[in-house]
C-alpha cells in the first residue's frame, strides 16, 4: 500500500515537472513507522504519530484483534464488571486516525535491514521501517517447579487469564484459601497486586463465608500506597486477609496448589501466581534488554530510542528508565516518543524538557477507591527522568468520589489511547 502511495506522489511530482532520479524519488517516500504492541504504549504512539505527524505511515502490529486492558481488570475478576468493559478495539485508530493495523505475531527484527518480520496467519510478512517502536508489555519468568499458568493463573495480562481467575474465584467454597503471590519489584502497576488482594478479600467477605486470602509478597513491604493498603489489610480485611512480606517463591506445584517459599510452605485452593517480570520477548530477542539486570531496555528518555539501536524505540513496561510501569505512564511516554520521532523526521532535535506522569486508581472496597500519582521531569545532568517529589502521593483515604473518578479516568485514558 505504501508502494502505491509512493507511486502516486512520484507521479504527482513528475506531473509538476520534476524529473526524478531514483535516489531522489526514494527520498520522497513517506517516513514509515512500525509499532509492535497495540496496548497502552503502542496504541497511543500510533495515534499521536498520525495526529501530529501528518504524512507519516504508521502500521500497528498486535497478535490479537483487540486489546484487553489490565486497568479495571480486578473488577472483572470479582464479577463487578463484564469483560467487555475492558475490551479495546483498533477500529477507531484505523478509521479515524489512519493507522494501518496488522494482526500477527512480531517474530524478529533485522536492525541492519530495518525490517520487522511478522507471522500473519500461516504466512510471513516483512515490514520495512524508518523507525520501529516496541511496546510489547511484559514477559513472565516462570517460577521453579511444576508451574502451569492455566491451573494457577496470573491474570496479569488481561483477557482469557482474567476469565480463568474469575471462574476460579467464583467456584470457591466456604473456608477455602486464595493465595496471591507478588513478585519482586519492578513489576507492572505497583499498587496492582494490593488492589487485587483488596478486591478478592472484599468478594470473599461478602460471598464465601470463612474463606481467606493469603498474600505472599517477595518484597519487604507494601510497594505502593502503604497507608491505604496497610489500613485496609489491618482494618476492614483483618479477619479475611493475611499479609506475609519477604516470602520469595522457591518452588511451585500448580497441580496441588503447594507453594514453597522463604517463609515456609503454603497450600491454596485457588493460587494466583504473579511471576517475575521482564521486557517483552521481542525486546530481549533483539538484544535490547541491556540494563544491568538484563531484563529491561535502556533508552534515552527524550526519545525512548534504545541506546543500542537508535532507530528502535522501546516504551511502556519494557523500558528501563525506572519510571513506574503503568498504562498511564506508557501513554505518557508514547507522546514523548511520537513527538521525538516526528521531530527527527523533520531534522530536529527532541524536546529537551519532557514531563511524564502516572496515575493509578485502586478500588479498596466495592464502593470506594484510592489513587496514586507521580510525575517526572527530565534532568539534563543525569539524563534521566527524575520524580518530582511534590507531585508524588497517594489519596489521603479511599472514597466513593475516588471510585467515580476511577471510571471517568478509565474512560478518558481508554479513548486517549485507542480512539
Amino acid at each position: 500500500m505504501s508502494n502505491r502511495r509512493t507511486f502516486v506522489k512520484m507521479a504527482a511530482l513528475a506531473a509538476a515537472g520534476w524529473s526524478l532520479s531514483r535516489p531522489l524519488a526514494a527520498q520522497m517516500a513517506r517516513p514509515r513507522v512500525v509499532v509492535v504492541g497495540g496496548g497502552f504504549g503502542g496504541a497511543t504512539v500510533a495515534k499521536y504519530l498520525k495526529l501530529w505527524g501528518g504524512n507519516v505511515d504508521v502500521t500497528l502490529v498486535d497478535r490479537a484483534s483487540s486489546h484487553y486492558a489490565c486497568i479495571l481488570s480486578n473488577l472483572v475478576i470479582t464479577g463487578a464488571l463484564p469483560i467487555s468493559r475492558i475490551q479495546l478495539g483498533y477500529q477507531s485508530l484505523k478509521t479515524n486516525r489512519g493507522v494501518e493495523v496488522l494482526q500477527g505475531e512480531a517474530l524478529t527484527v533485522d536492525p541492519v535491514a530495518r525490517e520487522l518480520t511478522v507471522q500473519v496467519g500461516s504466512g510471513r510478512q516483512t515490514l520495512p521501517y524508518d523507525r520501529l517502536v516496541l511496546s510489547p508489555g511484559v514477559e513472565f519468568t516462570p517460577p521453579v517447579g511444576r508451574y502451569d499458568p492455566v491451573l494457577t493463573p496470573h491474570a496479569w495480562k488481561a483477557g482469557p487469564q482474567t476469565l480463568l481467575l474469575r471462574d476460579r474465584l467464583r467456584a470457591m467454597t466456604a473456608n477455602q484459601t486464595f493465595i496471591l503471590t507478588i513478585p519482586k519489584s519492578p513489576y507492572r502497576c505497583p499498587p496492582g497486586p494490593y488492589e487485587r488482594a483488596c478486591a478478592v478479600a472484599d468478594y470473599l467477605k461478602r460471598r464465601k463465608r470463612g474463606a481467606r486470602v493469603l498474600v505472599l509478597d517477595a518484597n519487604a513491604g507494601i510497594q505502593a500506597e502503604p497507608r491505604n493498603f496497610g489500613n485496609a489489610f489491618a482494618g476492614i480485611y483483618k479477619d479475611v486477609l493475611t499479609y506475609v512480606p519477604d516470602s520469595t517463591i522457591l518452588s511451585v506445584d500448580s497441580d496441588t496448589g503447594v507453594l514453597v517459599t522463604t517463609q515456609g510452605s503454603f497450600t491454596g485452593d485457588v493460587v494466583n501466581i504473579i511471576p517475575e517480570h521482564r521486557a517483552g520477548q521481542l525486546v530481549i530477542d533483539t538484544g535490547l534488554a541491556n540494563d544491568p539486570t538484563g531484563r529491561w531496555a535502556v533508552v534515552d528518555p527524550l526519545t525512548y530510542a534504545s541506546v543500542a539501536e537508535p532507530d528502535i524505540h522501546v516504551l511502556g513496561d519494557s523500558q528501563g528508565t525506572g519510571q513506574p510501569k503503568s498504562g498511564h505512564m506508557a501513554n505518557s511516554q508514547a507522546k514523548v516518543c511520537a513527538d521525538a520521532i516526528i521531530r527527527a523526521f523533520n531534522g530536529e532535535t527532541p524536546d529537551p524538557a519532557p514531563v511524564t506522569s502516572s496515575a493509578c486508581f485502586s478500588p479498596i472496597t466495592s464502593s470506594t477507591a484510592s489513587w496514586l500519582t507521580a510525575s517526572f521531569q527530565y534532568d539534563p545532568a543525569t539524563r534521566t527522568m527524575k520524580r518530582v517529589d511534590a507531585s508524588f502521593a497517594e489519596a489521603s483515604r479511599p472514597t466513593s468520589d475516588g471510585m467515580q473518578q476511577m471510571f471517568q479516568w478509565a474512560d478518558n485514558i481508554f479513548a486517549d489511547s485507542f480512539a
Partner: protein, 114 residues
Amino acid sequence: MPTDRRSQGRGLRPCLPLVALLAALAGSPASAQSTPPSGRLLAAQCAQCHGTNGRAVGGFESIAGMKANDLYKSLLEMSRRRPENIMDLQARAYTPAQLRLIAEYLATLPRARD
C-alpha cells in the same frame, strides 16, 4: 507488503531537509510540518483525564479553548494550595513556565461543545 524500500529507508535520514525542500517546492505537504507548537507535548499529558486535544469523553472537564490566563492562574493555584485531589499533585509536576505553555497551547484549541 512491500519489501523493496530498504534502500529508500536508509537514505531517508541524512537527506530530510532536502525532502522537505522538494516537498515544499512541489506544493506537497509530503514530509513534514515545522517545529511542533510549544506546549503541545506538555498539554498532551493532560489528555489521559481531560481527553485528546483537551476534549474529555466524560466525567472530567474539557479544557480545550479556555482562556490562557484563567487556566494558567488556576493551574498555578492548584500547584500551590494544600494538595487535596489528584489534580493538585499533577499541577505540581510542572514549573510555572511550563504551566503557562500548557495554558497557552490549550487556549489555541477549539472549545469543546458541552
